[in-house]
Symmetry: D2
Subunit: 347 residues, 4 copies
């Protein structure tokens, strides 16, 4: 059994890791840290885990994370970069669910996350945790910066169109109109995400600029092999889990005769966690609730020059914790779907 440590187990990605790993056949959580809740049983804070997770939160200082095979950071931005080196040096693999190892340019990191990067030498080594793009690199990595929730959905939706320098669509006019459930904002005491503030309400936010913009553009540019520009408009929708990305791409003359349904189906045929829906479908977020699958549909209204790509994922699973377990499976040579054979919860 792989010994797993979780740093920061009191947030939504932490409890989701605990849920997923509780049923993992080859991994076992041996430590969960929380400075604030040290001593409390994990299942006391999250009664859904009663009878399934027996350990208590421990302080970071007293926890022997070096005895783990892999440590997940389910922490605020800035924590993993302070602790990763020490773990890597003793052979512990590190998977960061926050943003510390996503952006390759430390100046970009500093600009968007309002802190200096303290571990720039590891940035080059860190592999971006998006298996559909980086599967081989992930297998050999010891440090992973997991893809963000929005960026996962947008990159998956555009992968077949941009990969390897394909010239099907314009790469300067891309738009991603994304909608997220409220759990995406994390388990933090804040007025804006109170039930009475966000229920029966819908709004855009971060239109001027959102941290996931540079991550998406960096990812798409690497996928494409040339600079890609995308306008990203996130919205908050009154549901707990789920992201729905509606992506607009203008077809170039050289892309007019492509069969996009077939392109998408072929690209993802072998992917265990990407499901291309039949032509004409509109995927629902609830069809992936609790599961690690992203579902995608590609539309070309009126057979015109605009592609409309619809992508749904569970932001806490494929958009975070589930994908990080998928990455762990790859890093340890396990079946990629180990612990992830979940049927989504509908209704």
């Amino acid at each position: 059994m792989i010994k797993v440590g979780i740093v920061g187990g009191t947030g939504y990605t932490g409890v989701e890791l605990l849920r997923l790993l509780a049923n993992h056949p080859s991994a076992k959580v041996t430590a969960v840290t929380s400075r604030k809740e040290a001593g409390m049983k994990v299942a006391e804070m999250f009664p859904s885990l009663r009878g399934r997770v027996d350990i208590a939160f421990s302080t970071p200082d007293e926890t022997d994370l070096q005895a783990c095979d892999v440590v997940f950071f389910a922490t605020p931005h800035g924590v993993a970069m302070a602790q990763a080196r020490e773990l890597l040096e003793v052979g512990v693999k590190v998977i960061d669910l926050a943003a510390d190892f996503r952006l390759k340019d430390p100046a970009e990191f500093a600009k968007w996350y309002a802190m200096e990067h303290s571990c720039t030498d590891l940035l080059a080594e860190a592999v971006y945790g998006l298996p559909e793009v980086n599967r081989d690199a992930i297998k050999n990595a010891r440090l992973i910066g997991m893809a963000g929730c929005y960026p996962t959905s947008v990159q998956l939706g555009l992968l077949p169109l941009l990969e390897g320098g394909k010239q099907y669509v314009e790469t300067t006019t891309l738009i991603a109109d994304c909608k997220s459930g409220v759990s995406g904002a994390g388990r933090k005491a804040e007025v804006g995400t109170l039930f009475a503030e966000s229920a029966d309400n819908f709004k855009a936010y971060g239109v001027k600029g959102h941290r996931h913009s540079p991550e998406i553009e960096q990812g798409l540019s690497l996928i494409h092999g040339a600079p890609v520009k995308l306008t990203f408009v996130p919205h908050l929708t009154p549901m707990i889990r789920g992201i729905h990305s509606t992506i607009y791409a203008r077809i170039k003359p050289e892309g007019r005769d492509v069969d996009y349904q077939q392109l998408f189906e072929q690209r993802f045929a072998a992917e265990p966690f990407v499901d291309v829906m039949p032509a004409g479908s509109c995927p629902e977020t609830r069809s992936v609730r609790g599961g690690n699958t992203a579902r995608i549909a590609v539309h070309r209204p009126g057979n015109g020059d605009l592609l409309v790509i619809l992508v749904v994922e569970d932001n806490l699973v494929k958009g975070a914790s589930g994908q990080s377990v998928q990455v762990m499976n790859l890093m340890f040579g396990l079946p990629e779907n180990a612990g992830l054979d979940i049927v989504p919860l509908l209704p």
Copy 2:
């Protein structure tokens, strides 16, 4: 007091008309028809009206609608066109909240609504019920086809950019990514809009083509004075009321130096029910819940060539019943805001 008849009072636009007119200083509902519920007190079906609305539903046949000054059709498509002529002939004004008198081309109507138009001679006379565009025509009209909920928000959001042939933005690449609360689907027994189907869920629908597309394009083309093309993608979001339209418009070279914040503010300065938010704002649907106001914000991310216009409205008020009362006020020479001075309900 203006005597008001409502045909079809058991749906959401019907009960919303009753709510609004219950506090109207110069209008009084004297008849509400429902074939199915005839005899039942209106307040028995909608207890929110107890003590405020005393009449009962009556059958259409036995109801003397000709004694009214104005009749609202809050009915399924196809009802108003069968009854309007008779009412107009005896001098009763007609306001249709359904789609019978929206599209000017009967072939388009037949295509999108799956029925022949039975009253084509009145189509030319019917005025499109969008006061910010057609105020003067409305004042003199006897037959109104009210603007749809989505079309109201999209046309208001693009009005300052397109009006009078303005050449600020491309008119063939417009996109409206719209999100509606579930009441927009009406008060009909259907599986798809059950709570357990639509709560905690988000999805697009009608991507292949939606009835509001031709209405929006017809309206924008009239506003612009030249053909306008727009891709319309509606989504269902788990809230009761509200529409949020996120509109994308590409700036043309001749629009690069325009101050769009100022353009929007000036255009709507005199409009009683359109509120341009301060620069940088993101309007929330709840900020207009129950009220007749549409709030608009205009963004230009990174000062680039894409405008992002955010519009919120209450689909049952500014998107339907409230706007129809506004139209009635205009038709009868009343203050435009009579009965509509509502502070939205927040939280």
Copy 3:
């Protein structure tokens, strides 16, 4: 126009007061204090008030509340008792929406609110703000401790059964099983009331003891003229507004032949804000959303010895701000329903 000051305008009862008073014919808000948000326009924090409320938050210190005719405290517990005396001394009436002047026994206050009462001499003078019980006293009062949200619903539901020493039901086995929307917890940054914590979820809380228990028992005992004991179990339900109280009362032999439907109807016939539903009805919380009405139904299942009384109210209106405006109207000799003729928002 009555000049109104609001201390603590950034919470839900504060913004609800602003909504209600914006349409009040005889009152005008002249000051809204907030230490933290001083200088910010009220409508900037609550865009629903744009165009309707023009003033800004001011610091408590710089605000001349003594120039007001009445001051509402929409503050956390403990604020009103520190400031009330000074206002009363210069003739300003005081209405506290928090708990400072509800409990008559300072020891009880200290026990349940974890602070000493700093103004015990005013406790005797303070009138309990529940018009259906204390209308005359309210008319002559200068200091009001408004009834809490749960206590309002429970006392109204039991009023006809207990008033004046009536011996219809047992007074030691009463049960109130109450369910509240999440806005009842206030607009405070807390994890427990986040959307992702409280949506799609239902739970009891405070079963061991809740602050509203002593308030309810004090009120019922005064109503009855003898000690009354009640078990109070509150629950949190995933909606924004609304309280539903299900009250269980055992009929005593002397109450077996009472016509309870008639008893309730007669008791409340003259009450402008209590609506007794027809026999057999089950009131819905949405039937009072945004309105100041409480709706009540009384059931006697199987014609047995147990009465089941159902009471709904909007916790922010009849349960707080609306009732406080009703009280203000009484204190100033205005029509009791001034500013409160609201048709609830359904759907």
Copy 4:
């Protein structure tokens, strides 16, 4: 592998059976009937099952249910009683999730379900599907009438108090104040359970009498060995899944010294799917979302004479489909938790 047939696979208990059985190690669904949807792939109606459930709906007539080892009826009331005999005769076990085999008295059935019972001779043989009460009988049964959703929660909550004639609490004054999510009403096109009708709303229903009342009283009387009377008041709460039962029981003098926390813990210590929470807890419905566990807390406010028992379950799992898989496991000698080791989905 056990071959499983499901009659009526288009409702919520049907799709939930499909979800649970998709991960069952020893059972496989070989047929799912639906008269209306015959020919459609199950995963087309429920995309959450894409890639996991490959079969299509078939017409009841053409489906060889006799080739199954067990058939679940996830149908409206009245279907199972028409088809059970034929299946039993050829050795197929039958598990009915509807009410056909719950009530032992055909007159009671006829009264509450508005149809004559067409299969009364099997009523005596049918075993009530509540494993915590009837485990041994279930193991040997060939026909099961599954416990209803509300009745499961109420009987589990009262089991330790009433079992075997215990005299701890009064058995004529019991009250169950129950709250259910909207999926409990089924996947039927109805106005009352539309999102826009039931979101942001709370109400009681069926106060005059609900079908689950006789089932609960029959079950409790059998458990107790003497007649038990209970007042049952169900409520609808705006969530998808979950039942919360708040049960009130008056302690008799002989029950005053009982340690109820210990009583409950001991009674359920060996039960795999009943979790007694620590003293003072309030279980949340989301702590069992998607899982087969019921969680129970027992309170005695003020150490008085009233017990307050809180029970939560997922109405579609422990309240229906999950419990029926548990029953199947018992009937076929499988581990009771086979396919049911699910960690609930939180948040």
